[in-house]
Amino acid sequence: MNKALSIFLRGIVIENPLAIIMIGLCSSVAVTTSVANGIGMTAGMVFVLLCSELIISLFRKVIPGNIRMPIFIVVIAAFTTMVDIIMQAYFPDLSEAMGVFIPLIVVNCIIMGRVEAFASRENAGHAVLDALGMGVGYAWVLIGMSVVRELLGNGTILGFQIMPESYQPVLFFVLPPGGFLVFALFIALNIALKKLWLGQDYKGGK
């Protein structure tokens, strides 16, 4: 039970995929201009991660070691295609807004990394917990960023006006430079949280 809990908690702060390990950035930072996009991207990403880890973990004993990479890619690409087609059918606006970033889930290093480093060695239960933990870690950074950017850049959250009428939106935050800046602050925040969690200070001591 303790091991299961630690697998789940690890992905949230200590090994946060976006802010600490710094993988899977490509399709992540770009979509955070609005909260709806952030939620859509997280949903697609977590679905693909969960399904791929589960499938690979179930079949890990029959996958030959030499050709495991192509097999992983095919599994991930199949789930990504499903997400892409489902989004086009049921959420056409969201699919339009995210464009090429949905297909890019295939080459998202988070999925490949977790499948290779974790799911191909552990049992299905642990793989699901790992996917969920990583998913929560991914979600709080991505959705947090999109809340900050939409609120400051547009004065709204999910399209509802939050800021008072007199608020002049800061366009900077929805443009690419703002994306980089907000992401920098989120990484700094995550590093600070990690230090707090592990009880360290910035000098590296305990």
Partner: protein, 192 residues
């Protein structure tokens, strides 16, 4: 002809793939520790990018469209890129060992480089002709190289700067990128 120039400029500066579209951020952050390494990575990426857009363009228009298998494009493209990278690796090892030594370590990383898949998918969704897609991939590759070298150069300059503790390491790189992106915003009006 003006159309080609427009595609080249747009992919190189106005819609720079790294700075403006956030694609391929992983090598941008991970491989820019020194200028030499970033140039090696960019050359390897450019080479595979042009090759991959050529192959996927033909495959899409000659095989997938007539057979009505467009929905398989993600799966097919990523397999093409993975096998292309492998073939290039074998060929270089045999034919140009010196080049292999210089480029070899970067090649396996390219399979999961978002930029390559993004360019091949863009070629299809923008309905580019063959010549246009080659120009687009060349421009994007040059844009990638520009961004890599810019950041690698800046990283060398900040190595001795006094940076606040909480911004050391990765956060300051994104603040730098933010400033680069602000400069790139200036290109926005280049093409009407």
């Amino acid at each position: 002809m003006p159309k080609l120039l427009e595609i080249l400029l747009a992919s190189l500066l106005i819609n720079n793939i790294v700075i403006m579209r956030f694609i391929a951020l992983c090598p941008y952050i991970g491989m820019t520790n020194d200028v030499k390494q970033s140039i090696g990575m960019s050359i390897a990426v450019s080479f595979v990018m042009v090759l991959a857009s050529t192959v996927t363009w033909f495959l899409y228009n000659i095989v997938l469209v007539p057979l009505d298998l467009k929905f398989l494009q993600i799966l097919v493209f990523i397999l093409i890129i993975a096998s292309l990278v492998q073939l290039v690796e074998f060929y270089l090892k045999k034919a140009a060992p010196a080049l292999y030594m210089a480029m070899g370590i970067y090649l396996p990383l390219i399979t999961t480089n978002c930029a390559i898949l993004a360019v091949t998918l863009d070629n299809i969704s923008e309905n580019y002709t063959f010549i246009q897609s080659i120009v687009y991939s060349l421009g994007t590759a040059a844009g990638f190289m520009l961004a890599m070298i810019l950041l690698a150069g800046l990283r060398q300059r900040i190595r001795t700067s006094a940076i606040p503790h909480f911004m050391r390491g990765n956060p300051i790189l994104f603040v730098l990128s933010s400033l680069i992106a602000t400069a790139f915003m200036g290109f926005a009006g280049l093409i009407k």
